[in-house]
């Protein structure tokens, strides 16, 4: 099968290779290109009475998006996304390392375990966290019964709860690419480092870590980007003072009924992400 594929894709049979790519291209066109095009067209439209979209085009929505009142929201979002990525990396790297080198026959079971939270909607997960973190929740009740606390701590609706939710949900996005790239590091290279007199720390620092860097970058990108658009976490676990970009956008579509402006904000977010990835690729090649 693999050999047939590589033969088909080798360029000798352009028609066949196009056919093979057709499902993927079709999928991309239907679910990415068309909706994104619709979004961009809407972003130039005008918002009419009661949120009717009026198809008169201009840049007014983009001009509004650069109002300085949205700057704190942008910085807050970057802060939360950055902190989540950093925490995921700090927690995820040792985890991926353990999975790769020490988990042995438990490896597959643990990998499945890592994915288990994904089997339910994050909504369910967040509501469970509310039960755990609440003033009359598991943690507070236990600590108060043990006499550690006299007054319950308000964990919910704080930056702590938001970060916890984000890290909890996005951790697998960091761990899986890390695991994939650590798994690809040839053991022989690490052994060679030992043979040449490197200690464990030096071997890790000079061999394993540099070889796993593609996984680190992929994991960070895969965590950081969806975090930028997250709005559910704040909606459920966060309070009104931690309004993020995702909330701002979802509010335009729901409460304010201003789809053109919401589209413009989304388009800007997309442009920022695509631009960032493009710069990163250029930097990587250079």
């Amino acid at each position: 099968m693999n050999r047939a594929l590589s033969w088909l894709l080798s360029g000798r049979r352009p028609l066949a290779s196009h056919l093979l790519l057709a499902p993927a291209s079709l999928w991309l066109i239907c679910f990415l290109v068309i909706p994104a095009a619709g979004l961009i067209v809407t972003s130039f439209a005008k918002n009419g009475p009661y949120g009717v979209v009026i198809w008169e085009f201009g840049f007014q929505n983009y001009a509004r998006a650069f109002d300085p009142k949205y700057l704190p929201v942008l910085f807050r979002t970057l802060g939360f996304a950055g902190a989540t990525t950093a925490l995921c990396l700090i927690l995820g790297y040792p985890l991926a390392y353990f999975l790769t080198f020490y988990a042995g026959r438990w490896r597959n079971a643990l990998l499945v375990g890592l994915m288990v939270p994904f089997w339910s909607s994050c909504l369910v997960a967040y509501y469970s966290w509310m039960i755990v973190l609440g003033k009359e929740g598991l943690i507070n009740a236990t600590l108060m019964r043990l006499g550690v606390l006299s007054e319950p701590i308000g964990f919910l609706y704080t930056p702590f709860a938001i970060l916890l939710g984000l890290v909890y949900f996005y951790l697998p996005f960091t761990v899986l690419p890390l695991y994939a790239s650590l798994d690809k590091v040839p053991r022989s290279v690490i052994e060679a480092a030992y043979d040449l007199g490197a200690g464990r720390w030096t071997a890790f620092w000079k061999v394993t870590l540099p070889l796993s860097l593609p996984g680190v970058v992929a994991g960070c990108v895969l965590t950081f980007i969806p975090c930028l658009g997250d709005f559910l976490t704040v909606e459920i676990l966060g309070g009104p003072r931690y309004y993020l970009l995702g909330n701002l956008i979802s509010n335009q579509f729901m409460m304010a009924q201003d789809w053109p402006f919401g589209s413009a904000l989304t388009a800007l977010l997309l442009a920022g992400l695509v631009g960032g990835l493009w710069l990163y690729q250029r930097w990587e090649k250079a």
Partner: protein, 352 residues
């Protein structure tokens, strides 16, 4: 032993498979006449209301729920088809009508319309009676008697710094801005940007005290002790108080708003006759009383009054005294330009 799948049988299956959904759809269409698709607030109907209707008429009610009216509006606006009957707040009716989402309910086909109290006939928000009042209630303050020693009396109590991080506000443009207007003595008819600036400042000033802007989950927070003071809709609190008897409801001394949730027929509803039957059924005195007893909102159905639980009927928090009734006002019907000013102001409060 299972027979291995031959190529031919696989091909046959592959050709037939796409037909299955259309076959299923065809079966569905056959019984379509006996169905009403009803889109309502969550916790907003009696437990037996709909099964009883189905038992009596053989018409199945497909019941769908929403917890946020903006979300519901967005869903319908984005083209969700298939609903026949929806529940809309009085002040939202212009918005639904101007987007052509609803069509008038022909009053002459309803036998039971006369059961409604005269106060709810030909109301200001819908003088031609194109919708049918379902339940009504007030917006007020919920508080936990055990945690808040001095019962709140005024909307200003929601601005009191001693309750920092224990307050929640409804995540609803109309309620929050109306209250700010009431406190600032600004009439709802205003279009003056200066007025809206003052409103925004007042709500932003309150923000550091607010733990949640929420229209549904704050009820859990009240029960769980996350918050102790909340802007609430009357019946929602009475339902919640069944779980936590420490919760009480106050209509602030400044007065408040009342709203009427109305049954409205979706434009192009496919099951018109059965939808009208359902509306007429919901207007029956015993049915309306059953709903009111279960959801603890006030019913606009006068004929239902004798069957409403005495406790509820005598409770001035549910059915305010005539003197208090005079202090209650309906939300002003906004035109699209005002509506824009309101939602812009609210959006700015959220961002601030």
């Amino acid at each position: 032993m299972a027979e291995p799948i031959s190529r031919r049988s696989f091909l046959k299956a592959a050709i037939l498979a796409p037909l299955i959904p259309s076959l299923l759809a065809a079966c569905k269409r056959a019984d379509d006449q006996k169905v009403v698709n009803f889109f309502n607030w969550s916790n907003y109907i009696g437990k037996d209301t709909l099964p009883e209707f189905t038992k009596r008429t053989g018409v199945e009610v497909r019941y769908d729920l929403f917890a946020d009216e903006d979300e519901m509006f967005t869903k319908l606006r984005a083209g969700a088809r298939g609903y026949d009957l929806i529940v809309v707040g009085d002040y939202h009716i212009p918005r639904f009508r101007s987007l052509n989402l609803i069509e008038p309910i022909p009053a002459e086909s309803l036998k039971n319309l006369g059961n409604l109290s005269p106060r709810f006939r030909r109301p200001g928000y819908d003088p031609e009676e194109t919708t049918v009042p379902y339940l009504w209630g007030t917006t007020g303050i919920a508080y936990n008697k055990r945690k808040i020693k001095k019962a709140p009396t005024s909307w200003w109590d929601l601005w009191d710094p001693q309750y920092k991080d224990r307050v929640s506000m409804l995540d609803n443009v109309r309620d929050c801005i109306s209250v700010a207007m009431q406190l600032l003595k600004i009439p709802q008819t205003t279009r003056d940007p200066e007025d809206f600036k003052k409103i925004r400042e007042l709500l932003v000033k309150q923000k550091p005290l607010v733990k949640q802007y929420s229209s549904a989950s704050y009820l859990n927070s009240l029960v769980a002790g996350e918050i102790d003071l909340a802007m609430t809709w009357s019946g929602d609190l009475f339902q919640t108080a069944r779980e936590n008897p420490d919760l009480d409801y106050v209509i602030p001394k400044e007065g408040t708003y009342m709203w009427v949730d109305c049954l409205a027929m979706m434009r192009g509803a496919r099951h018109r006759a059965d939808t009208l039957r359902l509306i007429d059924y919901l207007l029956e005195p015993s049915v309306a009383a059953g709903i009111a007893n279960s959801v603890r909102y006030a019913t606009p159905n006068q004929a239902a009054q004798p069957e409403v639980d005495l406790v509820l009927r005598k409770d001035p928090r549910v059915y305010p005294t005539p003197a208090l009734m005079k202090q209650l006002q309906l939300h002003h019907v906004l035109d699209s330009e005002q509506s824009e000013l309101w939602s812009q102001t609210w959006a700015d409060v959220k961002v601030a």
